[in-house]
Every structure is written in C-alpha cells, then in structure tokens.
C-alpha cells in the first residue's frame, strides 16, 4: 500500500515526461528481476513474476487514469475569491504543485520521497485553473476603479450585491459598538467570549427565523428551534450532504447550477453529483421528466440517488420555481423516497413580478413529507454580508437537525457577529426598509443591464431573482462548443476587460451562455460595461 501511494506521486512526474512512461518503468523493473530469477527454476518464475508485475502495473495504471478523469471532471471550488495574491512570493501556487512532487524525488533529505498527503489534495489541482478562478485572479491583479484604474477589469463574475450596503453601513455606524459589547449595560465580554452552543445562540436563531419570515413576505413562519446556524451557506450544504448521503451515493442537480456545488457537495464527502440538464427551449426550467430519466439511468449504473438539490431563485439563471413545480418535485421525491435540499439563499433578492414561493410554504401544508425537505439559507446575498459568515439549515427532520447540530462545531458563527446581527435583524423597521429598497435597486439595475445587452443583440432569460443575467451569446462564438465559448470568455476578459462566468463553469449543456452579475455595478458603470462588451461583440460578428 505504501509503495502504491509513493508511486502515485511519482507517476505524475513520469506522466509528464512521456505518455508511454508506464511501460518504460515496468521494463526497468522486470528485466533485472528476470536475470535474478533465471538462476534457479528460472523459466517458471521468470515468466510468472513478470506477468504478475505486468498485471499489477496495468491495474495500477488503470486506477491512476481514473484519478485523472476525476480531476478533469471536478470543477472549480466556486464562490470564494482568488488564489494568487500577495502571498505569491513565498508559496508555490498551483502550477508549482507538480514541481514540488518531482522535486521530492531525488532529494537527499527524504530518501523515500516527500511525505504524502491524502487523495483529497489532488481533487483541487485542476479546479484552480478553471475560468472561474482565473477570472477572479485577474480582477484582483487589475481591478477597475473609476478614477485610479479606468482601464482595469470590471468584475461581473462574483455574486456580490453592493447596491444596498450603504443601508447596512448606516445602521452599523449608529449601533455597532453599543450592541456588541454593552447591550445597553456595562461593557462585558463574558457574554460573547465563552463557549456558546455551536449551532448558534437561541436569540440569534429567533432573529434569523424572523428575518426569513420577512423575506418571504410573512408567507411562512419559521420555527427557531428548527434552525441550525453555520458559518456560511457553504458548510450548510456540505453538512447536509454528509447527513443525507453516504460515500458513493449521489444527488441530482439540475444544471446550469452554482459552480461551488462541486466543492460543497462532493469534495470531502465522497458523494457524487448527477447533473440534470435544463434546456433553453424550456427557458432552463426544471423538468420532472428529466429528473426521472436521470434517476433511472443512475439506478442502472448502480448509483444510489439520495436527494435532489435545487436552487430557488436559481443561480445562474434566476428562475423561480412555481408552486406547481414544487408540488411535482415533492411527488417525485416521495415516489423515489429521496430528500429535497432547497437552496433559497437569494429569496430576499427577488426583483421581478413573479411570486416567490418557498418550499417551506409547501411544507406548512403537507405534513407527511416534512421529513424529506431541507432548506438552506444565509445572509451573504440578501443582506450583503458574505464576510460575516452566516448560513442556515432549516428542517423538520429531527434526526437531520440532531446530526447537523453536532456537525456545526466545525463551522460555528463567531459570537460578536451573532450579537451584532441579533440587534440588526431584530430591528424590524430596518429590515423592512432594507428588503424593499434593495429589491427596487436590484430591479432597476437588472432592467438597465438587460436593456444594455439587448441593444447589442444579446438576449437574456427573463430572471425574477438574484444578481445575474443569464445571457445567450452563442451567436458570437466561432465554434458551437465549449472551446468556442471559452475563446469568447477569454476575449471578454482580456480585450473587453470584463470578467464574466462562462456557462461551462455552471455545467450548462448548451455552449455560449454566460452569467453576468450586475449587482456589483452602479448605474454609471453599466454604459461602460456595455460599451466594452460591444467592442468584442462587434469583432465577433465580423468573423
């Protein structure tokens, strides 16, 4: 076992030198062995041993090839921003990763090679070179600034909402210090310093449940005792993956989807994702028939499906799931006896005229299936506070809650942040004002941006929520393929100097779709962005 692991790190070096490297290495082992063996009873041993070695070699190569395939398939660890950055001097970043491994080989320090790390490390090697990450890195190196860097790259690839931060900032400027430490009394740190329940202070759960209720326009009343708080929605998704599925099981995920699911659902859990493509002909709406087909195909392959993960409003398209679809989904889940995880992290960022229906509303009516539905929420999008790390798991399933609660010890929200937000979220007037104004601003910016793209002949899927325009730029790509799409992405990044997310990062099955986040833009920025895109779209049209 030790030898195989060592060889695995070795082989990536051999692989680089020559693709037939495996055979060469084998001969180097077998020939001298044959010589030794032919001394006594040589003919028999001399043929058996090399055969055995070859058999093991092929077996090992086959396994290694599978590992490479895994690396190719697993996509970027989504939402978090850059690698690169100021630390580049000291540390070997990704391109140097394989250099480390090869460097270890002849090293006099460790004659048996570098100390090995787990298989999980290789899972992220490919991810860092995905367009998603490359784009983020480039923006960090050359960020647009109206005054100081007007030729810099404009960020449209990060789902941040800067439109209403001023409202939060204003509230904080008036209230923060009082709230965190004094709470109207003597300054005392013991309230927040000591060990607190890992799944969040009850006061904070109450405040968050209240906020979630306001976000759904009071259509749902959330019970704080069914709230589990986590340091962001990212661990919320991972914790649910750990709780609902075993290693080797799978979740059905409609695509295009949030790029981060590859990391959140699969990385450490050993759980698989089965993509269920939605089509532009359906406006990328969820199709139960497609889910059914995917489920059956999985079954044939011996993959056990444990649940479906949906996003509502969806990322990247911005669709809302209708009441009917939610009911159909529930029927489907019931029929297959699987779970539903509904990621509603953008519920408060709806901006269209469509009604948003939370799956929790359906749960309130349907007693029987409560145990199979779990909601994920967070404050990163709706309250523009991704840095504060606040995520929610909401479920009626007591067993899931019990397990999830225990797992929050690895992803607990910092107490001063809980205290601060208890006050903020309990300020009902502030919350109502914020939600209303934020929605108006999103609507306005969305309308302007979509209109701007339309002028360039670029159509978007009608979106009712979220920070994104899901735009069809297939008319501008040279070859109707992922390659063509990435060429356009590259042009947009390097010539137009805008960072957008290509549909392939979201596992979109149709090439040419791009995700633009408009919530990082002011009204002034929009014409500038459209202008820049025009530069590229004109040249593409000419080709």
């Amino acid at each position: 076992m030790t030898q195989t692991r060592y060889s695995r790190s070795r082989s990536s070096d051999t692989e680089k030198e020559n693709t037939g490297g495996g055979g060469g290495a084998a001969m180097r082992v077998i020939v001298p062995l044959q010589g030794v063996v032919q001394g006594r009873g040589g003919l028999v041993l001399g043929s058996i041993i090399p055969c055995a070695l070859f058999y093991f070699l092929q077996f090992y190569l086959k396994r290694h090839r599978n590992d490479l395939d895994d690396q190719n398939n697993s996509n970027s660890p989504g939402q978090n921003s850059t690698t690169g950055s100021a630390s580049s001097g000291k540390l070997a970043e990704l391109p140097a990763l394989t250099r480390n491994l090869s460097r270890g080989l002849p090293s006099p320090r460790s004659p048996r090679g570098p100390v090995s790390v787990s298989g999980r490390v290789s899972g992220i090697v490919k991810g860092a070179d995905s367009p998603y990450y490359v784009g983020l890195r480039r923006v960090k190196e050359d960020p647009y600034d109206e005054l100081s860097n007007p030729n810099g790259i404009i960020q449209l690839g990060l789902a941040e909402n800067k439109l209403s931060l001023d409202l939060v900032k204003h509230w904080l400027a008036e209230n923060a210090e009082q709230v965190i430490l004094r709470n109207g009394k003597e300054l005392s740190i013991s309230r927040i310093a000591t060990y607190l329940p890992f799944d969040g202070l009850m006061e904070f759960k109450v405040a968050v449940a209240g906020f979630m209720s306001q976000v759904t326009a009071k259509a749902v009343s959330f019970d704080p005792s069914q709230v589990v708080l986590t340091a962001g929605a990212t661990p919320a998704i991972e914790i649910l993956s750990f709780c609902l599925a075993d290693v080797g099981n799978a979740f059905l995920v409609p695509t295009p989807c949030y790029p981060g699911y590859d990391r959140d659902v699969k990385w450490r859990t050993g759980v698989e994702i089965i993509h269920v493509p939605c089509r532009s002909a359906d406006d990328f709406n969820l199709s139960i028939a497609a889910l059914d087909q995917a489920f059956n195909q999985a079954k044939k392959r011996g993959l056990k499906v444990r649940g479906i993960i949906i996003s509502n409003p969806s990322n990247p398209v911005g669709n809302l799931l209708s009441r009917d679809t939610l009911y159909s989904l529930l029927d489907f889940a019931r029929e297959k006896n699987i779970h539903i995880v509904s990621n509603e992290i953008l519920a408060g960022s709806t901006h269209g005229n469509e009604e948003f229906v939370s799956i929790a509303e359906i749960m309130d009516l349907d007693d029987v299936d409560r145990k199979r539905v779990h909601l994920v929420y967070g404050l990163s999008k709706d309250l523009s506070l991704p840095g504060f790390r606040v995520g929610v798991i909401y479920s009626h399933n007591e067993e899931v809650l019990a397990a999830a609660k225990k797992l929050t010890r690895f992803s607990t929200i910092s107490s001063p942040t809980q205290c601060l937000l208890i006050s903020m979220l309990s300020d009902a007037k502030f919350v109502q004002t914020f939600i209303t104004i934020n929605r108006e601003r999103l609507q306005r910016t969305y309308a302007l941006f979509v209109a701007g793209l339309k002028k360039l002949g670029i159509k978007c899927i009608k979106s009712s929520g979220g920070f994104y325009c899901w735009a069809d730029m297939s008319g501008l790509i040279r070859s109707y393929s992922e390659k063509g799409e990435l060429e356009l992405w590259d042009k947009l990044l390097n010539i137009a100097k805008v960072n957008v997310t290509p549909g392939s990062c979201c596992h979109c099955i149709e090439p040419g779709w791009f995700r633009f986040c408009f919530a990082t833009l002011t009204e002034k920025d929009i014409p500038i962005v459209i202008d820049r895109i025009q530069k590229v779209s004109e040249t593409c049209k000419l080709n």
Partner: protein, 438 residues
C-alpha cells in the same frame, strides 16, 4: 378516524447516525449534570461546580479594558469606514492584517524564539475545525493517526467522525510522568500495522491536555526523528502555548525546526487558537500553520467550510497588533494562571491528593488511584459518579481521555472565580475527610 399510512422512512447517512461523535461518553455526560443543576455563587450554592470545562476566564478584565479604550476595533470607527470592504470580504486567505497579528502573537508567546510567516497561516473557525481539516488533508479514510494518551476526549470526534480516520494510541503512563517514549511510539506504529492501518501522522498536544505539562525538548526531538524515520506527518497542537506559567518552559516544535535549519519541516504542522490563551472560545478563531506549501494551499481552500467572520478578524487584528496590549496580556495571564495552579495544588495537597507536576494549561492532572476499590476503569467511573452526584463537582475521568492507568482525573481551575475554587476545594477536603473516617 384517519387511516395511518406507513410512509417509508427517508434514510440518513451512516455519518449522521454514527456514534463516532462520541457525545455519549462520561466526559459529556458530566456536562449534562452541570447544565441541569449549575452552581451559582448566590442563587444556587449547592449546585454542581463545573470543573470539566477548560475555559480561561481569569483575564477577561484585560480584554474589556482594551475594548473600552479602542472602540474602532468593534465598530470600524466613526462613520464605519472600511465596513464595506469588511462586510464583503470572504477571501479564504483571511485578512492580511489579522494573519500578521496572529503571527506576531505566536512569536511573542514563544519569546521570539521562533519566527512565523503570515502567509503560512490558514484561518479556521476554531482549533476543532483546524484539527479536522488537517486530518482530511493528511490522511485518507481508513488510515491512522498516532496520538499519545491520555488525550483530549474531543479528538475522537474531531479527527475521526467525518474523516473516517482511525486513532491508534501511544500509551504513556505515570512511571515516567506520562512522557512519550520512542518505544511507545514504535509499539503504536506496529500495532497500527498489525491492524493493516496505514499510519499517516503523529499528533501531539504541547502543552498537553489533560496533563497540564509541556513536552521536554529532548522528547520533541525524538518525536520529530520518529516522524522523519517513518516518513509521516507531525501535527503539534499548541493551543495552550500562551498558558504556560513561565515563558521559558514552553518549547515549540517551531524552535526545534529552527535549530535544525528547517530540514524535514514539510511534514510539520502547528495548530493554534485563541480559545484558551485569550479566553475567547466564542469567537471561533483557529489557525493551521504549515511548513508544507501543498498543505497550506489545500487547507486554505478547504477553510471555505470554516471561515472566521471578517468582523471578528478585524476586531482581533486591531487588538493583537497593539503590542502594549498583547505583551501585557501574555505576561499577566501567565501570572494569574500560575497563581490559580498553586492555589489548587495546595488545596488538593491539604486534602491528601497528589497531582502530576504541571507547568501549563487550565487544569491539573489529579491522582485518585489510592481511592479506587480496584485498579479498573469501572472503579474509576464509580468514583467519578460519586464525585459528580455527592460532592457535586464535574471533573473529567481519565478513561474518557483514554488514560491506560485508572484513577487519574482532569480538574479545570480557570473557568471560575477564586471564591468558587475555594468552595470546590472545601468540598473535596470534606469528601476526603469522610472517606478517611469510613
């Protein structure tokens, strides 16, 4: 009357239903007893005194004084400049200013005898997350980590539950004050091999929990040599490094590496946290410091599951980069812990109880083996129950720390006022007197 239709129960994973979270052990059961009947100085004087929680409450006033005088730390200052960037900051590299402050703080604790590079610091929401993360990175499911006994009961959960990794104990005993020996390490390694478990690393806690003692330089050298020899990782959990009673007595693995010119450093990883030294477990601040580039990069990405609130990073960056504050804090905290330790040792001695000679931490390692009916785990648990239910003290039995010798108990002394500690000592005294009479 409605007909009840039995619905097939939708299943959960093995991880969800497993008992590896270990929360059914006495270590946690004692806390329940405390929760149901907690001691209070005025309102519940006959309640259970919590001596099973390693929390540091002796230096809160120093923290409060700083925050009182530096409101910009907790509110971004007048008009909240910098708030916007802070609120949006979710970069898993962590705030540079905070990493710098942590690196400086770690250097100060080690008396400047080791240098820390802020770019090798990975931030996690607590040391619990740091330890689990490292395990995910250094070992695959089914592999093993070697850990000297007795060890922190939480490791069973933190290192094994989701990772699927096994713990193989390195047995230490009182014959040499529970020090780690090369023979014990080798025996553990062989034991793992005989169970067909691939050993990926050795994890030490220095200063030790529950022993309350630092590891000697010579022993650290032997441990590092062992790791090099077996080509495995070495994780040094140094979360009590700032809680040594005297600055010079703590030797960090970082110092050993420095004297060796950082040869073999790529297998060494240090875990640190502010939960013990700064008494801020609620803030959830942990770090991984690794000399291995690949581990740093991976850990950073994996830390997405366990980021520290940017608000907290900002607050602590302000506080810890204030040299005057941090130097004074470290010094004063040490003195106060030392004083508490002396107080409890004297008190226990008066009651006829001996402890392992300690020099660090928030607890002492008490020897009650003379009181056991039989030198067995059952006798130890029976004694523990008596102490919990009759003496009304929640202390941690050695068996929950996987101690191979029955009769040892971990007793925390820093999570209460001096008055409460007096009361606890009185109760112990009374208990011992009663025993003598019987």
């Amino acid at each position: 009357m409605a007909i009840e239709i039995e619905q097939p129960r939708v299943g959960l994973s093995k991880v969800a239903v497993s008992k590896t979270h270990g929360e059914d052990s006495p270590y946690f059961a004692g806390w329940k007893a405390y929760d149901e009947n907690p001691y209070h100085e005025t309102s519940n004087q006959s309640g259970v005194i919590q001596m099973g929680l390693a929390e540091n409450q002796v230096s809160f006033d120093l923290l409060e004084k700083y925050l009182e005088e530096h409101s910009e730390a907790s509110s971004w200052g007048k008009g909240a400049p910098g708030f916007r960037e802070n609120a949006l900051f979710q970069d898993y590299h962590g705030l540079k200013s905070f990493r710098q402050a942590m690196a400086n703080f770690m250097e100060q604790i080690r008396g400047g005898r080791a240098k820390f590079d802020p770019d090798r610091i990975v931030l996690t929401a607590g040391a619990t997350a740091a330890n689990e993360l490292l395990t995910f990175i250094l070992a695959d499911p089914g592999d093993a980590l070697l850990i000297p006994t007795p060890y922190y009961p939480g490791f069973d959960r933190d290192l094994r539950w989701r990772t699927g990794v096994n713990i193989v104990p390195i047995l230490c005993d009182s014959s040499n004050n529970f020090q780690i020996t090369p023979e014990a390490m080798e025996a553990a390694y062989q034991s793992a091999e005989s169970m067909n478990l691939k050993v990926r690393g050795i994890l030490i806690t220095n200063p030790s929990n529950p022993l309350g003692a630092t590891i000697q330089r010579s022993v650290l050298e032997l441990i590092l040599d062992f790791a090099v020899n077996k080509n495995i990782h070495l994780v040094s959990d140094e979360i009590y490094s700032g809680s040594t009673f005297s600055s010079s007595e703590f030797i960090s693995i970082a110092e050993i590496l420095e004297t060796r010119g950082y040869k073999d450093a790529e297998r060494v990883h240090i875990v640190y946290s502010l939960s013990k030294d700064l008494g801020l477990p609620g803030f959830r601040v942990g770090t991984i410091y690794s000399y291995n580039d690949q581990v740093v990069t991976t850990a950073r990405r994996m830390s997405s599951f366990t980021l520290i609130s940017s608000q907290t990073q900002h607050l602590l960056a302000c506080m810890l980069s204030n040299k005057e504050f941090s130097e004074n804090y470290i010094k004063t905290n040490r003195e106060r812990l030392s004083k508490r330790y002396d107080m409890i040792i004297k008190g226990l001695k008066k009651a006829g109880i001996e402890c392992l000679k300690g020099n660090a931490g928030l607890f002492c390692w008490m020897n009650l083996s003379p009181l056991l009916e039989k030198p067995t785990r059952e006798s130890e648990l029976a004694l523990w129950k008596v102490i919990l239910n009759e003496v009304k003290l929640n202390i941690s039995p050695g068996s929950s720390c996987h101690c191979s010798e029955p009769g040892w108990f971990r007793v925390c002394f820093a999570n209460m006022s001096e008055q409460t500690l007096e009361i606890a000592l009185e109760r112990i005294h009374k208990f011992m007197e009663q025993r003598k009479r019987n």
